[in-house]
């Protein structure tokens, strides 16, 4: 009898698994067709001189050329600067805003969530058009305000000056990146077990101690997710560059993503573009690995 019950249980589990896989199948097909297969193709074609007219195996030539390409190296550096600046700033600013907002009432909390989420809902192109106007050299809001306040004596060509252009891009990127982390942090902070916080307070812990010893460990998984997602988004910064600077001036805002686009779609050098794409994926993987390691250590 026991054997029969165990057998039935196994059958039931097998059936459940089969149903589960059947439900997953459409997503898996989509995932393999539109993610795994293109990734594999990108890897394979990165070893070819794939263009509109040729498809010959060239070994590591594209990779060697990438490391000899001064513009690619500069684009890589710019990309890393964007990541190193935007990821900590986005994470810390989001945490700060969320830690203030989550304590508010429902109406106020929702209001601020909407405000900070607006740039994401609005769409990159619309946001970029507004920023482009604000940065305009001739009639832009920034120059108008800063000259009238006496902060600058004459108009600055914000997007046309290599000293400022990348920082302008990072500034816009920050505004479009903080919405989701803020919403996530608000939820995470609201889910922190209040009994633990109360216990710590009863034991005499101050606000800072409550945050670092009680709340921070409990929102670590959210932090890790935000770090990884923000890192990937920052590495893949493209639309802002294309719409605002085309990588200029003097390649000071060129990024790996924009360079991949240039080679793939403007010069039709698909193989070389894919090689740079593989290098970008490796770079993201390395950064993400260290972020996971860091988060794991903190958890321990």
């Amino acid at each position: 009898m026991q054997y029969t019950l165990a057998e039935q249980e196994r059958k039931r589990k097998r059936r459940e698994n089969q149903v589960g896989y059947a439900f997953m199948l459409p997503s898996l097909l989509f995932f393999f067709g539109f993610v795994i297969f293109p990734m594999g193709m990108a890897l394979v074609t990165s070893f070819t001189n794939y263009s509109m007219t040729s498809f010959d195996f060239v070994g590591f030539t594209n990779y060697v050329n990438a490391f000899k390409d001064k513009v690619f190296l500069q684009a890589s550096w710019n990309t890393i600067v964007i990541v190193l600046v935007s990821v900590p700033v986005v994470t810390l600013f989001s945490l700060w805003v969320a830690s203030v907002v989550y304590k508010m009432g429902n109406a106020a909390s929702s209001f601020y969530r909407v405000i900070f989420y607006l740039p994401i809902v609005t769409g990159t192109v619309a946001v970029t058009v507004v920023w482009k106007w604000m940065f305009n050299n001739y009639y832009g809001l920034l120059n108008y305000v800063f000259t009238n306040l006496g902060i600058i004596s004459k108009n600055i060509n914000w997007l046309g000056n290599p000293a400022y252009a990348l920082w302008c891009i990072i500034t816009i990127l920050l505004t479009t990146s903080i919405g989701q982390p803020i919403v996530l942090y608000i939820s995470a902070l609201a889910n922190v077990d209040p009994s633990l916080v109360e216990a710590a307070e009863v034991d005499g812990a101050n606000n800072l101690q409550v945050f670092w010893k009680i709340k921070w460990p409990q929102i670590m998984s959210t932090t890790l997710y935000i770090l990884v997602i923000t890192t990937i988004n920052s590495f893949q910064c493209f639309a802002l560059i294309q719409l605002l600077t085309s990588g200029g001036p003097n390649n000071s805002t060129n990024t790996i993503m924009y360079k991949i686009f240039q080679h793939a779609y403007q010069y039709n050098q698909y193989g070389y573009g894919n090689a740079m794409g593989v290098l970008l994926a490796l770079l993201i993987a390395v950064f993400s690995y260290f972020q996971f390691r860091l988060a794991k250590t903190d958890n321990e």
């Binding site: 509109m52 040729s54 060509n157 046309g160 600077t245 200029g248 003097n250 403007q266």
Partner: protein, 431 residues
């Protein structure tokens, strides 16, 4: 009786058989306007009811991306409307376009040659294969704010009859504007490749340099005249006579011209004159680019049709019928050109603007004799374009002109050479 019935049924079936083709068009004047194109299609379908044409409208921001994606995924349209730099030098060279030499009848060849041999040469590959059948052409010019120039007393430096000015007088005119308090006389934009025909033409005309060699096998702005022209621009910027803006491209510069911020634009032509006509409260006045010898060489624009090789003979034939109708039909041809706002490549079409709503477009006909070498058919042109605006960015940010031009020419020529090695036979004959 039965035979007659069968024949009539077959006839009905034949009459009902429709060929569907697709046209992708860049915004070439009115050919980017659905209402206008619908009118052209209606006229076509009156004559060819069995050919159904569906149209997709591309733009210059991501149109090339769409075409490239279509080529790689095997979903190209039947017909594409653009210039030889894309149809011949890019997609034709890559073997993606059909040879449409049969559209180039003796009559068409003679008619188009009578207007410009350069147009004929630009539409065929170095091997003599025609990948484009042209519809219209224009020259790219400068535009000035007539009233601002008048107020500053700068009109004296213009030859208003020939619409030309010398390099010396150009400098004097800019000085007059500055002396009159004009904050932004003109902008040399180099924030991207958009409208680079203007900056190229200005730099090369100042001292009559050549952008490429006659064979279009090498870029040559490192000549003494080329360097002198670019140095002159840098000097004028440093003297405050011009503004160099590494943050904007032609579209932004045109806006600044249209709203009166800048007194001059380098990206003017008949289509832009039409587009901005309702938005300006001054008189935009077209001018040739200044030159030291009084013989400007203006960059041209040639637009026409090509057919992608989709392996379907019936669709290809239908596409050819469409091209014949819109470009060569005695009644429709001039209307098709009129829709663009540019000028016919066929001598037989004559003056299409006199007495029309677009009579002011005739202003641009004076520039046709200045049409210079169509150097944008140089193979691998898109790569050079990036090198060019990056060169301008470097020299306007303090780089040594001679050294930076050398870097530009070396880079552009090295990439051109690499492209030629990859695709043998990309050396074009002289126009």
């Amino acid at each position: 009786m039965t035979a007659a019935l069968l024949l009539s049924l077959a006839g009905l079936a034949f009459a009902a058989e429709k060929t569907s083709i697709t046209l992708w068009t860049y915004p070439i004047g009115g050919w980017g306007n659905r209402e206008i194109v619908d009118g052209i299609l209606a006229a076509f379908n009156e004559k060819y009811p069995n050919i159904e044409v569906s149209v997709e409208y591309l733009n210059y921001t991501d149109g090339d991306v769409q075409v490239t994606t279509a080529i790689e995924s095997g979903t190209t349209p039947d017909i594409v409307m653009e210039g030889p730099e894309r149809l011949v030098s890019n997609w034709g060279k890559a073997g993606k376009m059909l040879d449409i030499s049969d559209l180039w009848t003796e009559e068409a060849l003679a008619d188009i040659s009578a207007v410009s041999e350069a147009v004929v040469a630009a539409c065929k590959s170095p091997e003599g294969v025609y990948y484009e059948f042209p519809l219209c052409m224009t020259t790219h010019t400068m535009g000035i704010n007539y009233e601002v120039f008048e107020k500053a007393g700068a009109l004296q430096y213009l030859d208003q009859e020939t619409r030309t000015w010398t390099t010396e007088n150009f400098e004097k005119a800019m000085q007059a504007l500055v002396d009159d308090g004009v904050a932004v006389p003109g902008i040399i934009y180099c924030g991207g490749q958009g409208g680079d025909q203007g900056t190229c033409a200005l730099a090369m005309n100042l001292y009559s340099a050549s952008f490429t060699n006659p064979e279009h096998t090498a870029y040559t702005m490192n000549s003494e005249a080329g360097i002198k022209g670019l140095q002159k621009l840098v000097d004028m910027v440093n003297a405050g006579l011009l503004t160099a803006d590494t943050g904007i491209a032609a579209a932004d510069e045109l806006q600044l011209f249209a709203n009166g911020t800048s007194a001059m634009t380098l990206a003017w032509n008949a289509a832009n004159a039409s587009n901005y006509a309702a938005n300006v409260d001054f008189t935009p006045y077209a001018m040739a680019f200044p030159t030291n010898e009084g013989n400007p060489e203006l960059a041209g624009g040639i637009w026409g049709f090509g057919i992608f090789d989709n392996g379907d003979a019936a669709r290809a034939e239908a596409a050819k019928e469409f091209i014949r109708f819109v470009t060569s039909d005695a009644d429709q041809g001039p209307k098709s050109v009129y829709a663009t706002g540019f000028f016919p490549v066929r001598a037989s079409f004559g003056d299409i603007y006199t007495g029309s709503e677009k009579e002011s477009f005739k202003e641009f006909s004076v520039f046709m004799p200045y049409l210079g070498d169509y150097y944008s058919v140089t193979p691998n042109w898109p790569v050079q374009r990036t090198e060019w605006w990056n060169l301008l960015q470097r020299i306007f940010n303090g780089g040594d002109v001679a050294a930076e031009v050398e870097v530009y020419v070396n880079n552009a020529n090295a990439k051109l050479e690499a492209f030629r090695r990859q695709m043998p036979g990309t050396c074009r004959p002289s126009l």
